[in-house]
């Protein structure tokens, strides 16, 4: 049996990942905030042959609720092979600049809850000396951009977090940070789809391969590693002047 624990199970990337793995010997524990969407995801995975798919909801900022949803999973299925944190929100940046509450919500969803869940899971992976902790960051976390630095900051924090958590958990437990480029998902529904966009299926396939290879950080698609490397080489003096 392979057991998967997903936070933000309604995310397009998470769904694509789960579908790839839905077979007779897999069980899913799906956490999110929307019951009917989670039910639709569970029905899809069960139709594809998953042995079980259980749904738990919790609301933003309710840490006890999140802990209960995670804890129920460990009690029901004993252990998980993979934890995937896919929850995330891409906010209206201009609105965030003018309303600190919106900025706080972005940090809550993208960063705080992801860290809380990862720390909860880490303890259990640590004591069993096995497991893969997979967190979805973003290329947007690699460098601040005028048009989305608040989202970028929420993702950059995950980078530092993963670095430290990895030191704590290696070698028995994998900590994988996934940095996708733009993905065609509900999050980007309003954006025009340029050639830079990839599919949730591609990111899911890259995640699966990275789990097998026990990688630490991946970009998806892989060419973003080169692009972001070059962008990070740009001196801060020049970046300061860029407007995009």
């Amino acid at each position: 049996m392979k057991n998967h624990l997903i936070l933000g199970a309604t995310s397009a990337i998470a769904q694509a990942y789960c579908r790839m793995h839905a077979g007779e010997d897999t069980r899913f524990w799906l956490i999110g905030r929307n019951q009917s969407r989670l039910d639709a995801v569970a029905a899809d995975l069960l139709t594809r042959g998953a042995a079980s798919a259980t749904v738990r909801t919790c609301v933003n900022g309710d840490y006890a609720g999140l802990e209960a949803a995670l804890g129920d999973g460990f009690r029901a299925l004993q252990a998980f092979d993979v934890f995937l944190a896919a929850q995330g929100t891409l906010p209206d940046h201009a609105a965030c600049e003018n309303d600190a509450r919106l900025t706080a919500e972005v940090m809550q969803v993208n960063t705080i809850e992801v860290m809380q869940a990862a720390l909860f899971v880490a303890k259990r992976f640590e004591s069993r000396r096995a497991g893969s902790c997979v967190i979805i960051g973003s290329v947007a976390g690699d460098r601040g951009r005028r048009s989305n630095y608040i989202y970028g900051a929420s993702k950059a924090a995950l980078d530092t977090f993963c670095e430290g958590l990895r030191q704590r958990l290696l070698p028995a437990v994998q900590v994988l940070l996934v940095k996708p480029g733009p993905v065609d998902s509900p999050m980007t529904a309003l954006l025009a789809k340029t050639a830079l966009f990839t599919t949730p299926e591609k990111v899911a396939a890259d995640i699966s391969a990275a789990i097998r290879r026990r990688s630490a950080t991946i970009y998806s698609p892989g060419h973003w590693r080169v692009i972001m490397f070059l962008i990070r080489l740009l001196p801060r003096q020049i970046v300061k002047r860029l407007q995009a």
Binding site: A43, D44, T47, R48, L190
Partner: protein, 438 residues
């Protein structure tokens, strides 16, 4: 954030103007509020403008792509309407099931297949896609979801199959799949010479093959030549998976310069294709993917036609007019010095199409595809219309960007009955031109 204006394309590279996008990734996602009209948009594989709507919302459905239930004993599948046939094939082929009717690409959604009541190489036996649709969940702009079937909301069911997206948003479809024992197709090729061969060989071979189509080398002068391509599912039990779901191997990265695809290059392609296959008279077992979807090997191949895109022209005429219509239309295409790569002839069978506006009807269907040369192409197509309507034929909306209201009403005698089922919020560029909606 309100939706910005976004350009949508159809497969023939027609562009929308002043269109906003609305995403429908979940069955209960809101439809665009207000009075502005909307139209569902699947994967945009319609060639003309029936999947476009200027100054309205296109409701994108490709993320509405979950399975809902599957009965592995009976092959009855319920899935959300944005599932692509490619996604369904990955699921059902390893389980011994196949899509009952498939068009020539798998990158289409189930909703799109219903809305155009698409046909495939097995029409002479199976009828249309709609013949295998058992139930539909239809979202109307009044907020209701109507379950439509031959037993329930019958009128709306018959209007939604082939309904061009105008009856509301299809949320889910219950579809009867076809059992298979192998992912292979036993393919048979036979060279064809002369007009009559295209009809005679098909009639003679029909009983022996579940799938058949005739391809014609439209660039060849003199008596036409072509290939009869037929096949059956291999009946021996074999492994059902094993490398049968390849992704496209090549991709056209962007629009190529105009006129790359021209009379010369098409002649080369046609001749090459003919010569490569005409000698292979034998039977061969081939993966289903290459048999049904040869074009899918190159992603975004339509971009090769450049900025002006390409045009498909497909019509159906009564069987007895088939050879005559082919002779005349091919003659007109050739004397206009226009070339076509995908010239295809297929006999439709007698199975009745369930939709009020379904295109397939007993007879012969012929399809040309042409690079868009602007006014010259328009003149040619007007001329082809004369042949089609003289033969009491009909044009296919999935391929169309130009048919007049008159041409539409002649092609679809039940248009008035259909109109009573149109959702008051729905419209398309096509429906406005043909008088289906304001």
């Amino acid at each position: 954030m309100s939706a910005p204006v976004k350009t949508f394309y159809s497969w023939g590279r027609r562009a929308s103007s002043g269109t906003r996008s609305a995403n429908l990734a979940w069955m209960d996602d809101a439809l665009p509020a207000g009075e502005v009209p909307f139209l569902p948009y699947g994967l945009g594989r319609s060639y003309g403008d029936s999947c476009l709507l200027d100054h309205g919302f296109l409701v994108e459905t490709r993320q509405l792509n979950r399975l809902i239930s599957f009965d592995k004993k009976t092959g009855l599948l319920v899935c959300e309407a944005g599932c692509s046939l490619a996604q369904l094939l990955e699921f059902c082929v390893p389980r011994g099931w196949f899509i009952p009717v498939t068009p020539g690409t798998k990158f289409v959604t189930v909703g799109g297949c219903v809305a155009n009541d698409v046909h495939g190489k097995n029409h002479h036996r199976a009828g249309t896609f709609g013949c295998f649709v058992r139930r539909i969940g239809l979202r109307r702009s009044d907020g209701t979801v109507r379950v439509c079937s031959p037993a329930e909301n019958t009128g709306l069911f018959r209007a939604t199959i082939g309904g061009l997206g105008l009856t509301g948003v299809i949320l889910w479809v219950e579809l009867q799949l076809r059992g298979i024992r192998s992912p292979l197709i036993r393919q048979q090729l036979e060279p064809l010479h002369g007009f009559d061969a295209f009809f005679e060989v098909a009639r003679r071979q029909e009983a022996a093959f579940e799938y058949s189509v005739a391809w014609l080398d439209a660039t060849h002068r003199g008596a036409p030549r072509g290939l009869f391509i037929a096949g059956n599912h291999v009946e021996d039990d074999g492994p059902l998976s094993a490398g049968v779901h390849p992704q496209p191997r090549f991709k056209i990265p962007r629009e190529l310069p105009d006129h790359m695809v021209n009379a010369w290059s098409l002649r080369l392609l046609n001749t090459g294709y003919y010569l490569a296959n005409a000698s292979r008279n034998a039977q061969r077992d081939v993966p289903y993917n290459g048999f049904f979807y040869p074009l899918d090997a190159v992603a975004d191949w339509n971009l090769a036609y450049g900025r002006k895109g390409l045009i498909q022209y497909q019509f159906v005429v009564p069987l007895e007019s088939g050879p005559e219509a082919l002779r005349e239309t091919l003659g007109k295409v050739q004397s206009a010095r226009q070339a076509s790569f995908l010239t295809v002839v297929k006999l439709f069978g007698a199975v009745e199409s369930p939709g009020l506006l379904s295109f397939p009807r007993p007879g012969a269907t012929i399809c040309f595809d042409l690079p868009n040369l602007g006014a010259a192409t328009d003149r040619l197509l007007d001329d082809l219309d004369r042949t089609v309507f003289a033969c009491k034929g009909a044009l296919y909306p999935a391929k169309d960007y130009r048919m007049s209201r008159d041409a539409f009403e002649r092609s679809y005698p039940r248009h008035a009955e259909f109109k009573s089922f149109i959702d008051p919020r729905c419209a398309s560029t096509f429906s406005r031109r043909t008088g289906l909606t304001a």
